[in-house]
Structure formats: C-alpha cells, structure tokens
C-alpha cells in the first residue's frame, strides 16, 4: 500500500507513455553501479599485468670466440642455449623444447626432452614425439666489446653458421 501511495506523484510528473522519474532514477543507479563494478574489475585486471617484467634479457653476450673450441657444442646452462662451433663458424640453438618448454638434453644422435619424450636431430629438426616445431636457431654477432652476442628475438634458419672468418687459433679478440 505504502509503495503504491509513493508512486502516485512520480507517475503524475512523468510522461504518460515514457518511464516514470522513479524508474529512470533506479535504472540509472543500476547502470552507474554496474559501470563502477566493471571499471574496478578492469582496473584490477590491468594492475595484475605487469608493466615491467623481470627475467633474463632477450639479447645477451655468450663469451669470446676463443672460449669455444673448434668442433664442439657448448651448453650454456644459464641461458638455455647451445653454441656450436665448426669450420663453418658459430651457431646458436635454443635448448628449450618447443613442445612445453623443458630443457632438452644432448644425446648421441641429437637432443631429447625428458618431459614428454620429444626427440630432435643434430640441427634441432623434428625426429619424433609431441613437439611440432624444430628447435629455433638465433642470430649471433660479434660486437665491438669482442664478445659474441645472441638475440633471442631474431630467429635464423636451422644450421646457420656465422663469423666463419674467425680463425680457430684466435684467442678471443
């Protein structure tokens, strides 16, 4: 009863066909509440996505050319990277399995991943198992500081060697 009594004046003020003032105010109130809740949710979500990430840089030095012996494959443990040196020059290949990111291990005829049994050949090509991509190779360059630098953002085709002109005996710049 009380509610009907309250509604009377509001309906008289409003347009006969359109919404009453009460309906309008209640509706806008709900809309504002929803907008605030959505805004707070979006803000909270945005806060959780970091602006700055810690972690190893994508571009890093791996050592002087002389640190790598001729015809060797060096596992740079902290970088999850293999550096290969032969007559053709230097090559850098990822040690992270392309299936789900475990570190692959060296075997006699290539590499295998202990997590789900993916197998790769000597140049990181697919042999068997669940991986669908070969191990990526990265650009390797000799910088003015005399060190070889690897850039994980720049992939090169498998088996790419660079800096073949560096002599085997040259002991690191």
């Amino acid at each position: 009863m009380a509610e009907e009594h309250d509604r009377q004046p509001a309906e008289q003020v409003g347009d006969a066909d359109g919404p009453s003032r009460r309906d309008f105010l209640v509706g806008s109130g709900r809309a504002v509440l929803c907008a605030c809740a959505l805004g707070a949710a979006a803000g909270s979500l945005r806060l959780a996505i970091p602006r700055v990430q810690d972690g190893p840089p994508a571009r890093f030095p791996v050592g002087r050319p002389g640190d790598f012996q001729m015809r060797t494959l060096t596992w740079l443990r902290e970088r999850d990277l293999f550096v290969l040196r032969d007559e053709g020059g230097f090559g850098a290949m990822s040690a992270r399995c392309t299936h789900l990111g475990c570190t692959v291990r060296r075997t006699a005829d290539g590499f295998y991943c202990p997590c789900h049994g993916a197998r790769f050949g000597l140049a990181g090509e697919l042999v068997s198992g669940p991986a669908r991509e070969p191990l990526p190779w990265y650009r390797l360059s000799l910088e003015p500081d005399g060190k070889l630098w690897v850039d994980r953002r720049e992939e090169v085709s498998a088996g790419t060697r660079s800096l073949g002109e560096i002599e085997a005996g040259e002991a690191g710049g």
Partner: protein
C-alpha cells in the same frame, strides 16, 4: 514451546546445523548408497586443509630464495611440521578425488534435475578446488613443482588468442619466477579459499531451498534429523578425520630437490589428478591439453540443458536397461582405450603423418561422440547419451592416469615390475 521442552534435541533449533539441515529429513536421504557421503567428506577435507594450511603459513615464506628453505624447516625443525604438511598434501588429494566422484555421482543419479543453478555452482566449486590444488603445487618450490608449473603454463600457448594474455596474468612474466610464486600464493591462501567458501555456502543453501536430496519418493516417511541423519553424519566426519590423520601420520608428503631452473628431472610427473593431461599432451599438446579438456568442460556445461526429457531423479543410472547399456559402453571403451594405447606405444618412434589426429586422446574423443549417439539412439534417451559420453571420457582419463604412472625416463612406458634404467 512445550514440544521443545519435551524433545531436548529441538533446542538445537537455532543451531547452525539446523540452518543446513531441516529438522525432519526424508527416510530416502538416509540411504548411504545414494550419496556415498561424498559432499560431507569434501567438506571435512576442506576444513582440514584450512586448518593445516593456516599452520603452514606460519613458517612458509613465498620467496624464490627462501621458499625451499622454509619447506626444509617445516620438514625438519618445526614441531609436528611433517605431520601437518602431510595432512595438507593428502587432504588436498582426497578433496580433489571426492569432488570429482561427487560430480560423477550427481550426474549418474540425475540429481541436477530442476537444480541447474546448483549444478553450475558445483562446477565452479570443482574449478576452485582444482585451482587450489594447482596453485598449491608450486609453493614448495622444489624441482617437481617448478617444472610441472612451467610445463602446464606453457600449455596456455596452445590456446587460441586468450592463452598468451592469461599466461602473462598468472605468471607475471614469461617464465615461472618470483612474480609467479607470489601470485600463486595469493590465489592459494586468500582468493580461491574465499571464493570456494562463498560458493560452498550457496551450494548448501540451494540444496535446502530445492528440498534436500533429489528424488524423494512421494510415499516417503519423515524422520527427525537427530539422531537419524546427524548421528550418521557425525560418524562419517569422525571416521574421515581418523583416516586422514592416520594416513598423514604414516605417509610423508614428498619434497623434491632444490629446483634446477635449467634442467628438468627425468621423468618429471604431475600429481595423479593432472597426470592424465600430461600423458595426453605427450601425444599432442593441442588435442590433449586444449581440445580434450575443453570438450569435457563443454559436456558438463551443456549437461543440464541437454537432459530435458526424463523426470526421474535421485536414482543411480535409472532403468536396468540403461545400466546394462552404460556398463557395455564403459567396458568397450576400456577395451578400445587399451587397444589404442597399445597401437600407439608399439608405433612410437615412427611418427605418423597426422600425430595430432592419430593418437589415443583423439580416438577416445571420437569414441565418446559415437558412443553417445549409439547409446542415446538405442535407449531413446538423451540422458543415456550424456552418461555414455561421460563414461568414455572417464575411461580415457583413468586410463591415461594409469599409463602416466607407468612412464619412466624419457617418457618411455615401463610395466610396474620392470626396472627403470639409470640415466643422467
């Protein structure tokens, strides 16, 4: 008023217990084979998890540098530390099992009929439980924890367009590190328990609003909840506490070595309730890690809408004819899984031309669809079709857990009686 004086148990009217239970319960609800007490067991284990978790929080430090050391403290220097940690670990495993079985029970008894909202609250509770189990798995910061979470987070890369932002949100970076540890910790000790508790309240409230256990017969007698129901529940709760305590006292919770962030163990296995995903992703990440779980979730989401025809509820698997049919479906699914797995393991090394299509997980997906169509057609029942699909899915999950348990170094299959070779 005089009645309350006559029957002392009615003085408990204002008690919490009688907010959850009615004063009088149907005789039908007293049958322990109807529910197997799985909901109550889940609640007991959740209580144990909160209590033991709060105690562990006193010593645990969520920092990549100190987390593992604090685990060693709990294991070796804290009074009752190993017991409380084991209680927490095994209660978590038990809770995942009870929630899963509870879901199967509700599906098999069609107890969701007319209770669609509570079915979805239940699914959200299952998701929260799995989220708690998953986030808790990282916290010890041992070798297993680090690599299990690394691998599963990388699974998100295979989800179309939502995967990468979600991974960034959960890990706070590209790889599992300090940012991920503190996020998992916050979710594990605050966000998810609060969500779970709120959902649990809703879940219990809806059961009462919907009239207690589903499927009450029309001619059923009403009995006082005390002692008929409450005594049975009290016995179940005490037994559950005793079993959990005894188990935790006898079986230590494993703690791996200090994590080596550049060298996974061989093999490195997830806990059993995620092991089926790990086994399936070893066939194919898009099928085992994305398609199969997504379709399983889809089945559960459409379930209460798809089953619109039959009214019967609150009885295991309905008519005898449906039971025989579903039994046959499950048995043939088990046989099919064994054959698929045998063919796959025998053919390993010579990868087929379509490894994402030709593997046991994809095979079981197809079989689930075929079994649902066939069983639904034979029984003229959508409910039987849904149950057949669920049956095949469960066979695949349990089968993959069993095969996963048999995986040795290099993810090679070894029978339980075979010795693993020594590997570096």
């Amino acid at each position: 008023m005089s009645r309350e004086a006559d029957e002392p148990h009615l003085r408990m009217r204002r008690n919490f217990v009688f907010h959850v239970h009615p004063l009088r319960v149907s005789e039908h609800a007293l049958n322990p084979w109807l529910t197997l007490g799985l909901g109550i067991l889940t609640g007991v284990l959740f209580f144990l998890l909160c209590a033991s978790g709060a105690l562990l929080m006193i010593y645990y430090i969520p920092s990549t540098e100190r987390a593992y050391d604090s685990m060693l403290d709990i294991q070796h220097a804290v009074a009752f530390g190993p017991f409380v940690r084991a209680l927490h670990r095994w209660s978590a495993h038990g809770m995942v099992a009870c929630v899963g079985l509870h879901l199967v029970r509700v599906a098999a008894c069609a107890a969701y009929r007319g209770r669609t909202l509570n079915w979805f609250i239940g699914l959200a509770l299952l998701a929260s439980t799995l989220g708690l189990a998953y986030t808790g798995y990282l916290l010890p910061w041992d070798q297993r924890a680090y690599w299990a979470v690394t691998v599963s987070a990388n699974l998100l890369d295979h989800f179309p367009w939502l995967g990468a932002p979600l991974k960034e949100l959960f890990l706070g970076g590209e790889r599992v590190g300090q940012a991920a540890l503190i996020r998992f910790y916050t979710l594990h000790v605050f966000v998810l328990p609060v969500v779970l508790l709120a959902l649990l309240g809703l879940h219990l409230w809806r059961i009462r609003k919907d009239g207690g256990l589903a499927g009450r017969p029309a001619d059923d007698r009403l009995l006082p909840a005390w002692p008929h129901l409450l005594l049975r529940e009290a016995i179940l709760v005490l037994c559950a506490l005793a079993v959990a305590g005894l188990f935790a006292a006898l079986v230590d919770a494993p703690l791996g070595g200090r994590p080596d962030l550049h060298h996974p163990s061989n093999p490195d296995k997830a806990p059993w309730f995620f092991l089926w995903v790990q086994e399936m992703v070893s066939y194919s990440a898009p099928v085992g890690g994305v398609a199969f779980p997504s379709l399983a979730v889809l089945l559960l989401v459409v379930w209460p809408f798809a089953d619109r025809g039959e009214r019967a509820t609150g009885r295991w698997l309905g008519a005898p004819r449906s039971r025989w049919l579903l039994g046959a479906v499950v048995l043939s699914a088990a046989a099919a899984f064994a054959s698929l797995e045998w063919a796959y393991l025998a053919g390993e090394g010579c990868a087929g031309s379509h490894p994402d299509l030709l593997n046991p997980a994809s095979g079981m997906l197809v079989l689930a669809a075929v079994a649902a169509a066939a069983a639904g057609w034979v029984d003229r029942s959508r409910r039987t079709a849904l149950l057949a699909a669920l049956g095949v899915t469960l066979v695949a999950v349990v089968g993959c857990i069993l095969v996963g348990l048999c995986r040795g170094p290099d993810w090679i299959f070894y029978w339980p009686w075979e010795d693993w070779p020594l590997v570096g």
